[in-house]
């Protein structure tokens, strides 16, 4: 599977994601913010970082760049799209996933390992887990608190992908830290699966995100 890894000015997890995707057997290739056509790719990952310095709101400026048209076309064509951390914030800003990831409940940038519960396996990225699996992946964000004014609809439509298990470090609604669109093909997660893709990193629990994508 040929996967576009989108780079904005300020993206900084692009090479980690590239590496993790290769580990999973995929064919990653970088694409820039001004590339409008992504039709030659089979899937898309928006990696983490601080696109445009997080000015205005995290992800707000990236959300109006030309590459977003390519991402929307890919979604319409039924291709899997994963946003990680800043990528998740961007997907929420575009409205491809519901809700918003905003300032943590405490004035703190959180960078730590977390335990997470897999809430659905209907996305390509979680298809290799079982519902209820507890996995370890790190978070690294200041704006990760999930808020949605239609939380019941989100749950009824099986759009919750990941939730913090135990402690809820950023004050997210119902500890939700990963959501998907109605079809389950667009997935936005605040934790970093690429930073948990090899045992040497402390966990390889996140590798299945990429394996599931490649396998799709």
């Amino acid at each position: 599977m040929k996967v576009a890894i989108i780079r904005f000015p300020g993206t900084n997890c692009d090479r980690d994601v590239y590496h993790a995707l290769e580990l999973a057997g995929g064919e990653p290739e970088y694409a820039w913010w001004n590339q409008r056509d992504l039709s030659s790719f089979d899937g898309i990952i928006i990696p983490g970082g601080f696109s445009y310095g997080d000015y205005l709101r995290a992800g707000a400026i990236a959300a109006i760049t030309p590459v977003i048209n390519g991402i929307k076309d890919a979604v319409e064509a039924g291709k899997p799209v994963l946003g990680i951390c800043n990528g998740a914030q961007i997907l929420a800003e575009i409205g491809l996933v519901p809700g918003v990831f905003t300032n943590n409940s405490h004035a703190k940038f959180l960078c730590r390992w977390t335990e997470l519960k897999v809430k659905t396996t209907r996305t390509p990225f979680t298809s290799m887990y079982s519902t209820g699996d507890i996995i370890r992946m790190p978070i690294a964000h200041a704006e990760g608190r999930y808020y949605n004014d239609e939380i019941q609809k989100l749950k009824d439509q099986d759009q919750v992908v990941l939730a913090f298990e135990g402690e809820n470090p950023n004050g997210s609604m119902e500890a939700i830290t990963g959501v998907c669109d109605e079809d389950g093909l667009v997935c936005a997660v605040m934790p970093h699966p690429e930073r948990a893709s090899e045992v040497i990193l402390g966990s390889d629990d996140g590798l299945k995100f990429f394996k599931g994508m490649v396998d799709y």
Binding site: L56, R57, V100, N103, S105, A107, Y147, N148
Partner: protein, 83 residues
């Protein structure tokens, strides 16, 4: 004609404002007891337009497309002719 535009962005009622909460706690450290602390974002610019109404409409579009996130924000637009 040139107009001065001001967009005042605030969080909707009931949305947690961690920045304001932190400022309120810091004021308390200085023995100032205050309540209902809020922070707002103000964006100002000059813009060319035919009338106040048409400029207001354009700025409203900007708010919906970029400046605000409708899930959590309210906004107020102020338009005044430039001196």
């Amino acid at each position: 004609m040139k107009y001065d535009a001001e967009v005042k962005i605030s969080l909707k009622k009931g949305i947690l404002n961690p920045e304001a909460a932190t400022i309120q706690r810091a004021l308390a450290l200085l023995k100032y007891q205050v309540e209902n602390t809020k922070t707002l974002q103000i964006i100002k610019f000059s813009i060319e337009g035919d009338s106040e109404d048409s400029v207001r409409q354009k700025v409203d579009e900007m708010c919906q497309k970029l400046l605000c996130n409708p899930v959590i924000h309210n906004y107020e637009i102020g338009i005044t002719p430039e001196d």
